[in-house]
């Protein structure tokens, strides 16, 4: 039981460090969603399912969506990949 907790905590702290150190801002947004997901798992282990559902829906889902949309509006998505829009792969 304790090894699950250690692994989840280490992964969450690693993702939090990645948010501060990554150059690509879209990757930083993904790391922030990973932090919220790790915290939601910790909430489940701590016997708080209501809070875990709220954190997963709001932190990983809605907060990540808001951050990614504002990145698109700022023009900072910067993956440096050119996609042909309108093709079969969206």
């Amino acid at each position: 039981m304790i090894w699950i907790a250690v692994i989840v905590v280490v992964l969450t702290l690693g993702a939090a460090l990645a948010v501060l150190l990554l150059e690509n801002l879209l990757a930083a947004v993904a790391a922030a969603s990973a932090v919220s997901l790790g915290v939601a798992i910790m909430f489940v282990v701590l016997q708080a399912p209501d809070v875990a559902m709220t954190e997963a829906a709001v932190g990983a889902g809605l907060s990540g969506l808001i951050l990614a949309l504002s990145l698109r509006r700022l023009g900072l998505t910067g993956l440096n990949i050119t996609l042909n829009r309108g093709d079969t792969d969206a």
Partner: protein
């Protein structure tokens, strides 16, 4: 379930809060500040839930399998429910402000944006920007080259 699981979770919560606050203070990019704010809020909520945990307890819900076991404290969970939703509201407002700053000043670097904002304020108030005594003042003439050649010739 021994004592050290508490230590592990507390280290995680304190680490997340410290990383979030460090990100807010030390980052130069406004967007990264908002991301660090999200991390700090997650850490603080985790610390609140940790305060209500009980050894060998069940979640505070009465279902068919409940038989009078001790439950986890429901009051911190209600507070954290509120705090998570308020956190996403604050993040949305902060992102709107970041978008407007980028639209108005053309940059997201904190020092550049602050410098241009200060220039705007000075221009609107009608005062000239403050000049430091060490920086080069525009109209002060440079020293004559003859004095430099004089002192340079003293070395052997």
């Amino acid at each position: 379930m021994n004592e050290s699981i508490g230590v592990v979770f507390l280290v995680g919560a304190i680490g997340l809060s410290l990383l979030g606050i460090a990100g807010i203070v030390l980052s130069n990019h406004l967007f990264r500040m908002v991301l660090a704010l999200a991390i700090a809020e997650a850490g603080a909520n985790l610390l609140l839930i940790l305060a209500g945990y009980r050894w060998d307890a069940v979640p505070p819900i009465v279902d068919a399998a409940y038989a009078g076991q001790p439950m986890v404290d429901p009051v911190p969970q209600a507070m954290v429910l509120t705090a998570i939703v308020i956190g996403v509201g604050v993040q949305a407002l902060a992102l709107s402000l970041v978008i407007r700053i980028r639209h108005r000043y053309g940059t997201l670097d904190m020092r550049q944006a602050r410098h241009r904002m200060q220039q705007d304020i000075d221009r609107a108030a009608g005062v000239s920007p403050p000049r430091s005594a060490e920086g080069p003042v525009g109209e002060r003439p440079l020293p004559a080259p003859a004095a430099i050649a004089d002192s340079g010739g003293r070395h052997d």
